[in-house]
Symmetry: C2
Subunit: 397 residues, 2 copies
Amino acid sequence: MTDAQNSFPAPKAPSGPLSGIFVLDLSRVLAGPFATTLLNELGAQVLKVERPETGDDSRAYGPFVDGHSAYFAGVNRGKGSIALALDEEEEREILLRLLRHADVLVENFRPGTLEKYGLGYDQLKERFPSLIYTSVSGYGQYGPLSKWPAYDLVMQAMGGVIGITGHPGQPPIRVGASVGDITAGIYTAVGVLAALYDRKTSGKGRRVDIAMLDCQVSLMENLIVAYSANGKVPGPLGSRHASIAPFEIYKTQDSYMVIAAGNDSLFRVLADALEAPQLKDDSRFKTNSLRNQHVLDLKRELEAILAAHTTAYWLAILNKAGVPASVINTVDKLIAEPQVKARNMVVPVDDPHIPGLKVSGNPVKLSGFSEQSSRPAASALDADRAAVLAWLDRRKS
Amino acid sequence: MTDAQNSFPAPKAPSGPLSGIFVLDLSRVLAGPFATTLLNELGAQVLKVERPETGDDSRAYGPFVDGHSAYFAGVNRGKGSIALALDEEEEREILLRLLRHADVLVENFRPGTLEKYGLGYDQLKERFPSLIYTSVSGYGQYGPLSKWPAYDLVMQAMGGVIGITGHPGQPPIRVGASVGDITAGIYTAVGVLAALYDRKTSGKGRRVDIAMLDCQVSLMENLIVAYSANGKVPGPLGSRHASIAPFEIYKTQDSYMVIAAGNDSLFRVLADALEAPQLKDDSRFKTNSLRNQHVLDLKRELEAILAAHTTAYWLAILNKAGVPASVINTVDKLIAEPQVKARNMVVPVDDPHIPGLKVSGNPVKLSGFSEQSSRPAASALDADRAAVLAWLDRRKS
């Protein structure tokens, strides 16, 4: 399909290992689109197939700039758009023509939805035997809950991460990031890549079936192992390490910070850096084991010292001394971190409607493929229709 | 390399798209080993190269069963083990012999460590031009912080997820799951798979460079986009949806539950299911927009009703009515979920030392590859040495 890509009418993908791969993306909102963004970052061309008139639901999600959704523009940068009414035969025919050239289809409808239009995996697999048909859903394509709707909050609750996040004895708390959707998005890319790799040898397409709940179970890996070994059911884990001290979040004069002094010698370095050498000789704190026994005392002593200055003050001192420590970053501070800049992890999008739009970059750094300093914009709804149809006609399909 | 695999002396990998791929795994603890477990689940053979005497640090992590670390046994199931002293030439020579047959090397030392032994990427790339040399580190292989040590807690703090997790106005809270390590582990698999795919065409190996911090930045995707659009810096996000109500965690008689009634008609269904039809006519709650304006009132009204019964009681009623809702699962309940069982997401390990050991299964479901009902055990430290050496001799290398 490589020559087809040269003239492909959607925005250009960066150069990468998936150059020449064409992804037809019927997915909406986050888990599916996050996956196709990652495939695009690796070089694949992505064409979104959207519902006419409204398009991807997330085109209606704020924040808006001049009437344009920044949410949509971020996660769909670099993707083309065609609007197709899947309930109309003529429009569906365009989708089928596109599928002749597609390597990968990604969809995240509720299981059974595409079957209604004759577009289910079992309905298409013989006609498109090398297509990698990729489905992302809340619960997966089978099992008693497979048709239930998926929400990040519900997945975090059922999957267990909420149950271990928070302070012991206090109400449970949702993880601020959409780990239900995003973890599923990354695993979806794993599935697509594994199938593409396999196809190089077998020539066969596959059904990739990713469930958000399955992905949440994988986040619980160590808890499942520990429970099977000792039968203990953990509640909220707080912010303290289970067996290392000091290793948690501490209050300073103006905010909070993390200090992670993982062994006895680092603890002594910490004590000196805080100008509190008496901590080194304190019989409660001589070893990691003793510090764990007296972890609340230790926190009290440390916070009494930390209260005298700001996080920025302490961070400069601890960094200089070589004690692992960090500010609790807010998004503005994260973007400004020199390490984040050095890794090109926040990149501008050349969006005509949202000046200054920035997105997270590609965490998969591969030698021999260059980092690009910006990303092309998302297409407006159906913007690539004429070019896509002309491209199909040129390919006589 | 396929024929070599047939007699490969480590535990057998499940059949999968990576059958025939040989991964030499020098990584320790979690981010690297999580990645190689995922590659193993996809069919790759994994041989751990460990430090003599103590091995992978996590062999010393609890919980222990009969002196064996369940933590280690879980994340390293199905992997072989050889202990090699990398500072001794003779032992290093064994590693170099193994590298002739390896497709992928995975390591998560602090950047610069392997260079000291002549085993850095630049030192090996010409000798092993098709090797996929994969490094996972806290901050990546370049940038001002690249040599800093990596801890999940520090990554969560610097990467921003702690700063948005918690209740507004209250102390920040760590995410209970090790999302710093695990997200990096999944992205590492993405990088390895992308490089393997590319190698099928190019014949070339690559350096895969994964930074835990980069992966945390990717979790912040929507926050970066929103901040670039509106300049607002969010603090802890609580457990409530930003624009939908009711959509949060509510207290019941005995615990907490999630209710996610995403639109007006679901809200009316919810009111009826709770036998509180008056909520439908309440002028504060007529539309989603109004419910957002009066979200604290709404929570008070709902919790007054929910206080009368247990979570299990309400869950049965809401599920029957079709209102998305969930218990906040603990690990024992998660394992028992019929959907989790149907998806084979908790699987036993045939571990001779830890009877009943269970691990999270493979969330990447691919048609044409069968699910296995158990996993082989992890190898004891250096257990595969003799077999590996004999295998190398048979291959005259």
